[in-house]
Amino acid sequence: MGIEEKLPSGVMTAKVSTVAGHLLKTSMWPATFGLACCAIEMMAVGTPDYDIARFGMERFAATPRQADLMIVAGRVSQKMAPVVRQVYDQMPEPKWVLSMGVCASSGGMFNNYAIVQGVDHIVPVDVYLPGCPPRPQMLLNAILTLHEQITREPHIGDRRKIAQAVERAAMEATPTHAMKGLLA
């Protein structure tokens, strides 16, 4: 594709990928996307008290097409699930998903027919964050965890192929409800 093909394999790509990771993580815009009470804590993170802008998240993007990070803040009802997926699909690559709070992560205390038992049933999740709701520091910690992941990830390559590979892996992975093992 570029200069990295002319150099010995791995040398340039690794460096470029690391630099790209740093660039990506320091200017990540979250989508404005609150579903329930966790959204209040998410808004609190935007206030000067916690100041999410310190991490390059200057504002919450008002459209998914300008967003890199989807913070699923709140319980996802079955009726909302297609909407969540649509918002995810509208986000441009590269994109990440942070499942904030127990309801988004696993359904939490709402183990019933109305709530999706974990948003990972509909979108691939990068970071899970426990708490009901998580305190703003917990969200910042989750964002830092995601930053670490982004610096480690490879960023050079065909975005479409990467996305397809990720999607295929997610489809082939054992779903959580089918995981069986020794009961302790």
Binding site: S106, Q117, P130, G131, H177, L182
Partner: protein
């Protein structure tokens, strides 16, 4: 703007309103024009940028932002954070495996499986004693993706075995990693404690433990643990296994024997975690 001349229509209330209602126009005297206070030359000059003064002043104010990862604001002392399974002063566990916490949990986040303590010597196939009294919690798992940190489990615990810490940094990449097992939840050994399994202090029963009569391990308990470690180490060496030398990770020089017992108690961490994930949720169709 405050009107210096009183409105005559407002003074005589009712008739005036009636007049208004009938559409009759009342000739009101023109209120005297109030002279605007003359502002100085400097005020006129800076009026358009006066708003920036607020920004300018704010530069010198103390910053209210909590610089989170560098300096963390302490939580309230009774903040509901991650759980902890406590120990008696001699190192035996306080949990008796009664499952009251699991029953109290509104989110079904806790899985407990009790087992009987066994005072048979280990050489004769005994499984060891982990808590004073009859039973101990063999399996203890908390699914932090279900837990809402309400603290009802803490209230339910009859032995104060389960308490909450102020730790809140728990974000992770997989659901299985957020199911914490007993070895992650157990309080680290305080200085002087010896790791379970080992017998109770000689001549005491479980009530003595709850009365606080036990203040630390006795030489007999320490000797027992030393023998158990030596035996386990010998067994590991003879079988050529090196895994028993793994670092326990809590900073204490925990012996090899402890690992062996723990591994038998909770085999295949990930498998167990996966199971409890399966039992605890994810049954969406």
């Amino acid at each position: 703007m405050a009107d210096p001349t009183p409105d005559p229509a407002r003074e005589s209330d009712v008739p005036a309103r009636r007049e208004h209602g009938s559409g009759a126009s009342v000739a009101r005297p023109e209120p005297a024009r109030q002279e605007e206070p003359r502002s100085g030359f400097l005020a006129d000059l800076f009026a358009p940028v006066a708003g920036f003064g607020v920004s300018f002043k704010t530069q010198f104010r103390k910053v209210a932002t909590e610089e989170y990862p560098e300096e963390k604001r302490p939580t309230a002392p009774r903040y509901h954070g991650r759980h902890q399974l406590n120990r008696h002063p001699d190192g035996l566990e306080k949990c008796v495996g009664c499952e009251l916490c699991a029953w109290a949990c509104p989110a079904d986040a806790i899985l407990v499986e009790g087992a009987d303590n066994d005072d048979t010597p280990l050489a004769e196939g005994g499984r060891g004693r982990f808590s004073p009294g009859e039973r101990y919690g063999r399996v203890y798992q908390i699914n932090y993706l279900r837990c809402i940190f309400c603290g009802l489990c803490i209230e339910a615990c009859p032995t104060r075995a389960l308490t909450m810490t102020n730790e809140y940094e728990m974000a992770d990449h997989t659901r299985a990693d957020l199911i914490f097992e007993k070895h992650q939840l157990l309080a680290p050994l305080a200085p002087g404690m010896v790791p379970a399994p080992h017998p109770m202090v000689e001549g005491t029963d479980e009530a003595d433990y709850y009365r606080g009569a036990v203040s630390g391990p006795t030489p007999a308990q320490e000797a027992y643990v030393r023998d158990r470690e030596a035996a386990a180490e010998g067994a590991a060496r003879s079988s050529g296994a090196t895994e028993s030398l793994l670092d326990p990770g809590d900073g204490s020089p925990r012996p090899a024997g402890h690992h062996a017992t723990h591994r038998t108690a909770s085999p295949a961490t990930s498998a167990a975690a996966a199971t409890s994930a399966a039992t605890n949720g994810g049954d969406r169709r």
